[in-house]
Structures are given as C-alpha cells and as structure tokens.
Symmetry: C2
Subunit: 171 residues, 2 copies
C-alpha cells in the first residue's frame, strides 16, 4: 500500500522553455472571474494576459500570480477593446482559439493546440462578440452533460489551460 | 475560413450511461468553493457529491446544478466527517483518488482513471487529512509551473473533472 505524505506548495515543475500561451479576455462582468483566471494562468506558467475594459485584479483571489518581484511572472495588459489586440496577436503568429459554444467549434478533448496560442475567453453572459469570433482560427468547446447548461467562464478557462499544459507539459 | 455562430446554452451532450464518478469534499473553508465545485460537477453530469461539516451550497454560484426537478440531477450528501463515507465508497467498489500534492502522487496528465471513481478533494489550507490520505488508492496532482504555488481547490477540482470526462466522454 502506498503511503501518501503531504508535499503542499512544493517547488514548481520546471518548463524547458517559456510558455507560449497567451490568455485574452473580453470585458468580464466580474473581476472575481478575471482574478480566478489570473491565478490559474499564473499556476500554469502563462506569462501574458490580455484583457480590457475596467479590468481590475483582486489580490486576495489571484494571490501572487502578478507578483512584480517574480522575474518569470505574469504580466497583465489592459486594452480599451479586445479586437485590435487580437489582430496584433495574429500578426505575431499566434493561433487564436476562442473558448465558446458555436457552430464549427471543436471538442477540447481532442483539439491539438499549436504551441503559440492565444486562448480567447468571452463575457459571462454574451460570450465572444461577433467581431471577435470572426478573428478566430478555431473555436473549442467543452462538452456539458448536465445542468447548468454551461460552465462558469473561469472554470471553463481552467479546463482549457489544463488541456494546453497537458499537451505542452514542458512549455 | 470557418464561420463561427453562437450556440450558447445548447442542449447537453448525451451520456451513454450514468456517470460513475462521485466527488467527495473535505470540510471546505468557504461555501463559495463548494458551490463552484457543485456547478462544475453538475455540468460534468456527476450524480453524487459527498461533503461534510457545515456545507451549504450558494444557489447563485451553483445555479441549477442541484435542481430538484431534474431527474438526472446531482444529489448532495452531507456527512459529519469524511472518512466513514469514504470507507463506504471503498466497500462499494469505488477507486478513491485524492487530489493533492503528496509523495507517491501521480500526474493527472497521464493518470488512467477507473470509471467507478471517487475524487476526493481537501480543504483549501490543510488539504486532505492523514486519516483520509490513508484510505486513498491513489493520489493525483496537477503540475504547477508558476506562482502561486497551488491552484485554488475549485479550479483544481475542475481540471480533474475535465480529465475524468475526457477519459470517459460517454459516461
């Protein structure tokens, strides 16, 4: 029988190269969701989050994900609107992948991410606007099997971050 | 170029058979985390959550995950302490899998779940108690690559639920 002894908050797993994943958030209804996304992205080694509107990160939720003392830390860029920032990411060679329930969307379970990906996350109520959806190379969705009909946005983002990291465990 | 049109809150994916996954939670510090776990479990088609202490689900967060009108819905069992409920799950043939950073833990990325699994989730600060860890068949952990040193408990649970569903997309 295996003995399991606590190793909470043990040193992080090492990436062989910097995470090439960017997370881009539409204006969210609540900074709680944004802050949860920031924490999860920090844990995943993501270096860059693009967001917009009146985005403000709640330190108690995001913890030290945005620690300015951390040289390998996460930076948060706040833009007025999302689309121009996404156009720039496209130009910089990022595969834009929306997280949404749409026609033509692919299942996250089997979606092969490109390493250089911008994961684009929509508003809690409206999801991604049409002008943003038009910029996507792909849309992925997470199957839902019961009620409620959709995952919370931060929960869905965590699942997509997990899947990306699973595919690129070393960066 | 693919056109992506919204299909928000579309009908759920169908399971070929009932989800055999049970989620079991140690007493959590906040009912917010419990309620987020309940919502995510509901979306994943989980039928049964075991929790303990003063667990109370916040409807605004869990949404209709506990809808009593839903015949395929989720039921929440509140126990005084977790260990006896886990012993019963073991007797009923569930593989007990703790979600924790421990010695001897396996990486969630490559962990093959058994269909009949109880995913056991610990307290935000203390994690799983030793008397609970002793009951586990396996412990899985999620690699962390940056700050903070650990995922939020509801975020980690969402990732583990996702991985289970990915392995059993049809139940």
């Amino acid at each position: 029988m295996t003995e399991f002894a606590h190793e909470r908050h043990k040193p992080q797993s090492l990436l062989q190269r910097e995470r090439a994943l960017v997370v881009a958030c539409a204006p969210l209804r609540t900074n709680v969701n944004l802050s949860r996304i920031v924490r999860a992205a920090g844990c995943c080694g993501v270096r860059r989050i693009v967001c917009c509107g009146h985005a403000k990160v709640i330190g108690k939720i995001a913890r030290d994900a945005l620690d300015p003392e951390n040289p390998a830390g996460l930076s948060l860029e706040v833009h007025r609107t999302l689309a121009p920032a996404l156009v720039k990411l496209r130009e910089d060679g990022y595969q834009l992948v929306g997280l949404e329930q749409t026609t033509g969307s692919k299942c996250l379970y089997t979606f092969p991410f490109q390493r250089r990906t911008a994961l684009v996350v929509g508003n809690e109520r409206q999801g991604l606007d049409d002008d943003v959806l038009r910029l996507m190379h792909d849309v992925v969705e997470i199957p839902v099997y019961g009620l409620p009909y959709a995952h919370n946005v931060a929960t869905a983002t965590a699942m997509a971050l997990y899947e990306y990291c699973r595919q690129f465990p070393e960066g």
